[in-house]
Amino acid sequence: MSNKPTLGIFGFTGCAGCQLALLNCEDQLIDLFEAADIKVFYEAMSNNDDGAEVDIALVEGSINTDKQKEELFHIRKKAKTLVAFGSCASYGCVQAMAYGDGKWEERFRKVYGDVEFAVGKAFEAQPIHKFVKVDATIPGCSPATHQMLTAITKLLNGNLPVYTNAPVCLECKLHENECLLNKGILCLGPLTQGGCTAPCISHNTPCVGCWGIIEEANHSAEIELLIENGYKIEDIIRKFRIFGGSKISEQYTKLWRL
């Protein structure tokens, strides 16, 4: 009988890239397998013990069908600590880019017609916290190696991960990058939760916001700045929406009045 904490890694709707990101931590995988008794790892294992009780459940992906919703309830019941693993589970990510616009049914019918689904009745992509209590989040599309492993280590030691509520700009500046906004480029750094270590901007590519919106994001100030720099409001909002998911319509309903 092992004293190791038990871990389940589940996946719903998404690209499965978060599980892949974990699987890609090749230098640390042996330590992970030694530190945890892994009962479920959809992408890495066969013979997953779906019914097992686990200390920690990492849940990847958004919830898109009523069947998934039932499975999520089941995972919640069996898990002591439930973690939203990645952006889809946390706030919907790219499949929720039109979240809350009221046109989901219309789009769904246009693509699928009147097909009956074997996977259950479908609905607009929802983050997992819409249905169950979420104890912690590992952000990112897909999560960054260091942040993810630090968080998992904390969880395995019985603690919850703690993140600084700082935007991408912190890590961007620590890498001594020139600010892209000052060059007139549409960069979402100030609006986006940090933790990624700013790899995109360090390679001269603007931030697209894939870690999700930071609590204190000042959208209206950034919109004003971008309009001054010649961007059209529709293009700015579209950019915000790509990774904005459920958060953008929940927290910033005032934006759509613009």
Binding site: L32, A35, T164, P167, L170, L174, H175, E176, N218, E222
Partner: protein
């Protein structure tokens, strides 16, 4: 104090001399700006005539952006036993030296910050004079000419550099240079005229019309001014101003445990008082939850608060906040608001 003469044609030999004392760090071009980098090749060792406003200031050599401050296991903790190399900071300007003087006071008065002190002890400061650009305002903060804080300082008198020696370590370097024939103790007879011209050239190079007169008192009088809210409304909370400010000192520590081991490390990294969580305390209380409050704190710190403890404001006029803030909240625009606060 001893003074010697240096001619620009000996620049490569100077690099050779400095390299014998440690790693040479100097401003290098980065994009459209500059960054302090380790110089490996004498071709990159340059007396820059232009302003080399590096993206990050000198403080990154003393307290790096992110580093382990402690290592621990389940039984004990200790300082990481990494070797701190001697670094020679070449090409630092008057504002930068002034900033390091402020950091020295801040980190070594009352309580000595060991992380700072151990790197500071290994840092040799080789300053070079400069001519201001449109953003510089160190003339307004009285940091345009420094009299302390350097080991060696090169003042450009046009035909040659007048080299001031500030410390015995600086003297060691000069003596080695003299042995190699790159410094000359014979100063030309017209040096006082040349020096007066140099001071005049420096004085006349400033064109930033920032008005800091009375700003310390105006900060006090403007505590409830409406413009703080206006600035809070447009601030992006990106924290760049604090990262690029040469006298900002705030940091955070986090403990990271290694996976499947009983070891870990305490990481120290730059933080910013412009971030909401910075003033978050136990019980979920936040005594500076509003952005405007945090902005006011920062400008109070720069223009006023430091005077009580250390006798001078902590802004050195480098102009970094002016070129960095995407929405133009900086010492200059705040000084303007202070002057016209009733006219808003």
């Amino acid at each position: 104090m001893r003074v010697v003469k240096f001619e620009k044609k000996n620049t490569e030999k100077l690099f050779d001399v400095l390299s014998r004392f440690g790693e040479v760090w100097s401003p290098m071009e980065k994009g459209e700006s500059y960054s302090y980098q380790k110089i490996e090749d004498s071709n990159n060792f340059i007396f820059h005539e232009e302003v080399t406003r590096t993206i990050l200031p000198e403080k990154k050599l003393l307290l790096p952006q992110k580093f382990p401050t402690l290592k621990f296991n389940s039984k004990k903790y200790e300082k990481p036993n990494e070797e701190i190399p001697t670094k020679i900071l070449f090409g630092i300007h008057n504002c930068g030296i002034s900033a390091l003087n402020i950091l020295d006071e801040f980190y070594t008065t009352d309580f000595v910050d060991a992380d700072y002190q151990q790197r500071r002890n290994k840092l040799i400061i080789v300053g070079v004079s400069c001519i201001a650009d449109e953003h510089c305002f160190c003339d307004k903060t009285n940091t345009n000419i420094v009299e302390k804080g350097y080991d060696i300082f090169f003042a450009d008198l046009c035909n040659y550099y007048l080299v001031w020696i500030g410390t015995s370590k600086g003297d060691d370097i000069i003596r080695m240079g003299e042995d190699m024939g790159i410094f000359d103790a014979n100063i030309p007879g017209d040096v006082t005229n040349k020096y007066a011209e140099y001071r005049k050239r420096n004085r006349e190079s400033y064109c930033n019309d920032i008005d800091l007169e009375g700003s310390t008192d105006l900060m006090e009088l403007s505590h409830d001014a409406e413009f703080w809210q206006e600035l809070g409304d447009i601030c992006l909370s990106c924290g760049q101003c604090t990262m690029v400010c040469p006298t900002c000192t705030c940091y955070n520590v986090i403990d990271e445990i290694d996976l499947n081991k009983d070891t870990g490390q305490r990481i120290r990294y730059w933080d910013s008082c412009l971030f909401k969580d910075f003033s978050l305390t136990a019980g979920d209380h936040n005594f500076r939850a509003a952005r405007s409050e945090r902005l006011k704190l920062w400008y109070t710190h720069k223009l006023k608060a430091f005077i009580g403890k250390f006798g001078a404001p902590s802004c050195v006029g480098c102009g970094r906040c002016i070129v960095t803030c995407p929405v133009d909240i900086n010492i200059k625009t705040v000084a303007e608001k202070l002057k016209k606060k009733r006219a808003l």
